[in-house]
């Protein structure tokens, strides 16, 4: 809640009040005391009126889809209801215009509601950054009749949008990812080596004749085929070291950083996923989570959770993640580690490659 005092009107009010105090100091009776009482009551009654208005105000916000994409237009609706008997006069709506564009609801739009009145506002919305954050109407502002002060109050129910990052090639351009991929390393659960391995099974229709192990087939009197080993590439790990800032302190600067952070991670994941090259992504989602992206499907899984899935359940988790980074920094030969740091002042420090 933020209270703003309008000095000019306050000065006029104090002047009038002083005038009536002077009048009441010389003359008694209703002619001086009634206006004096009324003037003295204007501010307390205004404060009470504002709180009654706010108490009976219901404001619901929604977007037509569950998850939105950054930069795309969606339909936003806000349903505002005054369930009190006192009308609401010129309530000012403040929108999150730093993080979303509401085309038909202007920031600072005024809205009056009768007693038991309702109003539905709808507009196209476009979210500017990836991540999970509140969009739509941020605050409502009430003022006294003489505009001596105004009170900004956060809306009772904020709408939290989950905005997926755009899939771009910024990671590919920044890192020379092609050079990080070779034929050794992590085994894929889906991709297999071209050469048959040691595991065997009974022949099934469609198996290549070249895969039949004739010696074993002769011994077992059944046609046995050799299975290919699971593909092993060089072990590439992307570690997303997100910043741990409470949501209440999220500002535009933070959202911009988060947007770039997510877009970079998604870009890297897409790079690997689209080439069917496995990559392990370590990121905080309450606790530390490990995801392997090695195909378009696994990429989509990661893509769907990354927008609102990056957070720490406690500082302990953050320390644990930091410990992993420190450990990897001191050891070589266990694969390639791409470490993304969300909270860094120097863009050069955003991404570092170990291995």
């Amino acid at each position: 809640m933020k209270i703003q005092i309008h000095k000019k009107n306050l000065f006029i009010y104090v002047l009038c009040l002083t005038g009536f105090i002077v009048l009441a100091s010389f003359y008694g009776g209703p002619v001086s005391f009634v206006p004096l009482y009324a003037l003295m009551l204007v501010i307390p009654v205004s404060i009470a009126y504002v709180f009654v208005n706010y108490h009976f105000l219901s404001l619901f916000q929604e977007i037509e889809v569950h998850k939105v994409s950054k930069g795309e237009n969606h339909i936003f609706r806000s349903f505002i209801e005054n369930s009190g008997i006192l009308p609401i006069h010129k309530m000012v709506l403040t929108t999150y215009n730093d993080r979303c564009d509401l085309y038909d609801i202007q920031n600072g739009a005024e809205l009056s509601l009768d007693s038991m009145g309702k109003e539905e506002l709808s507009s196209k919305i476009s979210c500017k950054y990836a991540g999970a954050y509140n969009v739509g109407i941020e605050k409502v502002s009430f003022a006294d009749p003489f505009k001596i002060f105004s009170v900004d109050i956060n809306v009772p129910y904020s709408f939290r949008a989950i905005v997926r990052p755009r899939i771009t090639d910024i990671a590919g351009k920044t890192l020379d990812l092609e050079n990080l991929i070779n034929s050794t390393g992590l085994k894929s659960t889906r991709q297999f080596e071209d050469i048959p391995g040691s595991d065997m099974r009974i022949y099934q229709q469609g198996d290549a004749l070249s895969s039949i192990n004739w010696k074993v087939s002769a011994k077992l009197s059944d046609l046995m085929v050799r299975l290919p080993d699971q593909m092993e590439k060089r072990h590439v790990t992307v570690l997303m070291y997100a910043s741990n800032i409470p949501e209440i302190k999220w500002d535009t600067e933070f959202l911009k950083k988060r947007d770039y952070f997510l877009e970079f991670a998604v870009s890297a994941a897409y790079h690997f996923g689209s080439r069917n090259v496995p990559v392990e992504i370590i990121y905080p989602s309450g606790d530390i989570k490990h995801s392997i992206v090695d195909s378009y499907d696994t990429f989509l899984e990661f893509y769907n959770i990354v927008a609102d899935g990056i957070f720490y359940s406690s500082e302990k988790v953050q320390k644990k993640l930091l410990k992993i980074i420190d450990e990897k920094r001191g050891s070589y030969g266990t694969g390639t580690w791409i470490i993304l740091r969300e909270d860094c002042d120097n863009p050069m420090d955003f991404c570092s490659i170990i291995g």
């Binding site: 100091s25 006192l86 006069h89 009749p145």
Partner: protein, 743 residues
């Protein structure tokens, strides 16, 4: 609210013309009540009919009311109220742009109301009406100002807000007197006094270092020379007493219990007055005054006096002190060689005497009277010591009447020496107090003129006192010789008195005291000036009482033989002894010889012959009025309901088929709205109504609406067929039936 303020202001104007108009409040509330009644009636009627009909019908009961009230009571006011309220209602209904008119009319009514209030003392007939009128005007003014100046005539803040403010303003009691800032000023003074006290403490202690005489205060530097004085408010004495600072008495005139603050006179440079006590005892004994009688005007009291910002060697104690002690022992000298320091404390036991008590005055005057009756000179009434009590007798008597232990005050040896004082020695001792050096002839003539008619010494004193109390009090003495008079000499006193009495005519306590002293001496009465403090206790009991330098005072004392020194108060701004009397009276009524002038009881006015007999007014029988009015309202309702239906039917019958279709569709829409749940919003699309109807008639409704659209938007030559007209009518009736059944 506008109607109320307009009505009250107009009534006030009318009252200027006809001041006999009565039942002002009743008339106002009746009119406004009826105004509301007509408004409510109109809204009720509008539920059944539209247009101007309900408005006209809502005012019809006023005609019936008028005649009923006129027949039921002798008072014209109630019937006038009926008419006025109806007229007010008519104005509000038929006035074009009524809201705008009210906005600007408020700015006309408010100055008019203010003008009436200040110029003709209007709005005071009935407090409630006055308050409500100004509450209404304030609410309207606030609302209009908000609308015109804040919202620029675009969007008005809800009037409810201003009504809430108005309601609170009406509930808070309105004072008839202006705001009393005394408490605030007192708090400010206390604050500034605290700061000043800190400075005083610093200056007080530094005064010892730099100069021993530079510290100024009321007592030590009181302008005895008669110049301009500027008294400060430094605390010079702190008094402590266990007694109440006030006394209660029953006012003999109003017979009500009253409370009065005590006044104490503290004299400087005096010792305990054992002689005065002995004289008082003999004076009482000579009149056979017992304990009960003495208690009417004398009592023993105790007081502790602490010195504050005061540097004097004088002992300052209440007049008639009989025992003075400090922290160590009894005080034997009236003046110390070195000035007393802050914190020096005196304990005083003193005789608190009510010199204004008629019982004491009676005693003072009675021996003189008896002497006069015996053919003796009024001045030589003899000394009481001629028939003096022994020490033991006196001790017993004082113990009996005042509870005083004489042995603590005076030894038998000292007592014997005192009572053995002869008349010559006594006269010799009083001689300095009769010195009139420097007194001019005009002062002598004045003294003679003033006292020529007096019977005794006391009367002379009172006459002089009363004469001087006509002079003006001023701390700025307009005297060219101001500041040069030396009051320690008789000549100085005479000069000051002469200047004050015959030239300046204004002054402060020393001028009054010196003048009275000189006039008394010129009248043959021994007199002296006493300087000290005069302090009036507050109403509330406190731990200590601060006597400031502003309380410094000088007053005259006259010596009345046989009685002793009696203080008087000629200074105009202070109360005389009579005005601050305890007003004690014996339980059993006792007539005193001293009889102040009483006003004679006024005769009862003669009964006015031919006065008209009081008229017994007929009371208004409420039932006699209410029942016919309710009946008339019900009748009007019936007329409205059936009348509007009959009119609709008539119009329907005489309309063209196209007009009938419009009427039917309007009826269908109205009925469907009734059928629907709340929240239906008419977007102007007739097909929105179809889902509101039961599914059984939805197809028929579609057909009806199709006909309606066809007729509305097609070329005018396509007319509705009689079959279609009949069909539409049947559907309309069916929907109406369903709606009625549902409701």
């Amino acid at each position: 609210m506008f109607a109320f303020s307009l009505l009250v202001t107009c009534l006030e104007l009318y009252l200027l013309w006809d001041k006999k108009a009565a039942s002002y409040a009743l008339f106002t509330f009746t009119t406004i009540g009826l105004f509301f009644f007509y408004s409510i009636l109109q809204h009720v009627f509008e539920l059944f009919a539209s247009g101007k009909g309900p408005t006209v019908f809502s005012l019809l009961p006023s005609v019936l009311l008028f005649f009923l009230i006129r027949n039921a009571t002798d008072s014209n006011e109630a019937s006038i109220a009926v008419i006025v309220s109806a007229l007010l209602r008519l104005i509000f209904i038929f006035l074009p742009n009524v809201e705008k008119v009210i906005d600007y009319a408020v700015f006309a009514i408010t100055p008019l109301a203010l003008y009436l209030y200040f110029s003709y003392n209007s709005f005071r007939e009935n407090k409630l009406v006055g308050v409500l009128c100004f509450v209404c005007l304030t609410v309207l003014i606030m609302s209009v100002v908000q609308k015109l100046f804040i919202e620029k005539n675009k969007d008005v803040f809800p009037i409810y807000f201003f009504i809430i403010v108005g309601l609170f303003s009406a509930v808070i009691p309105v004072r008839e007197e202006p705001i009393n800032w005394t408490y605030v000023i007192e708090a400010g003074e206390r604050f500034s006094e605290n700061i000043a006290e800190k400075f005083d403490q610093v200056s007080y202690f530094f005064s010892d270092i730099f100069s021993t005489d530079s510290f100024s205060s009321g007592y030590s530097t009181l302008g005895k020379a008669g110049g301009k004085i500027a008294s400060s408010k430094k605390t010079q004495l702190i008094l402590r007493t266990a007694e109440n600072p006030y006394f209660t008495f029953k006012d003999p005139v109003t017979n009500k219990n009253m409370i009065r603050r005590r006044t104490i006179y503290l004299a400087g440079g005096k010792l305990s007055d054992a002689e005065g006590l002995i004289r008082f005892a003999h004076f009482m004994r000579a009149h056979d005054a017992d304990k009960q009688y003495v208690s009417l005007f004398a009592r023993t009291a105790r007081l502790s006096i602490e010195y504050g910002y005061l540097k004097t060697g004088d002992e300052i104690a209440p007049i008639n002190s009989i025992l003075l002690t400090n922290s160590r022992d009894k005080i034997i000298s009236e003046k110390s060689m070195l000035p007393h320091k802050m914190g020096y404390t005196l304990n005083s036991t003193y005789l608190d005497i009510d010199y204004g008590s008629p019982y004491l005055i009676d005693l003072i005057k009675s021996p003189l009277k008896s002497a006069a009756e015996n053919g003796e000179s009024p001045a030589s009434n003899g000394l009481y010591y001629d028939n003096a009590m022994t020490y033991d007798e006196c001790q017993e008597y004082l113990s009996n009447i005042l509870g005083i232990d004489l042995s603590k005050i005076i030894s038998p040896k000292e007592y014997d020496k005192l009572i053995s004082t002869g008349e010559d020695a006594a006269s010799k001792a009083l001689a300095p107090y009769l010195d009139t050096t420097g007194a001019g002839s005009r002062m002598q003539i004045l003294a003679k003129d003033l006292t020529s008619d007096a019977l005794d010494t006391y009367d002379k004193c009172r006459l002089i006192e009363n004469y001087l109390r006509q002079y003006s009090y001023s701390t700025v003495a307009d005297d060219k010789n101001a500041g040069v008079f030396d009051l320690s000499t008789t000549k100085g006193m005479s000069q000051m008195a002469d200047s004050f009495l015959f030239e300046t005519g204004r002054g402060y306590c020393v001028h009054f005291a010196s003048s009275m002293t000189m006039l008394l001496r010129l009248s043959g009465i021994p007199a002296r000036i006493v300087t000290g403090y005069r302090y009036v206790f507050p109403f509330e009991k406190e731990e200590s009482y601060k006597v400031s330098s502003a309380n410094a005072h000088a007053w005259p004392e006259a010596y009345i033989e046989g009685v002793g020194w009696i203080p008087f108060e000629p200074t105009t701004v202070y109360l005389t002894a009579g005005d601050r009397s305890w007003n004690k009276a014996p339980v059993e009524a006792q007539v005193t010889d001293y009889a102040p002038i009483y006003e004679s009881v006024p005769h009862l006015p003669e009964t006015i012959a031919g006065a008209p007999e009081p008229v017994v007014k007929r009371a208004l029988n409420i039932a006699y009025v209410i029942i016919p009015v309710i009946a008339s309202i019900l009748l009007l309702l019936l007329i409205l309901i059936f009348g509007s239906r009959a009119i609709d039917k008539f119009r329907y019958r005489h309309s063209t088929p196209g007009e009938r279709l419009h009427m039917d569709v309007t009826k269908i829409k109205k009925s469907l709205r009734k059928l629907s749940a709340e929240g239906f919003i008419d977007r102007g699309l007739i097909y929105d109504y179809i889902p509101l109807a039961p599914s059984s008639i939805q197809d028929n409704l579609k057909k009806v609406f199709a006909i309606y659209y066809r007729l509305e938007y097609s070329p005018s030559d396509i007319a509705i067929t009689p079959e279609e007209s009949e069909f539409v009518k049947s559907v309309s009736e069916e929907v109406l039936r369903l709606s009625d059944r549902n409701s």
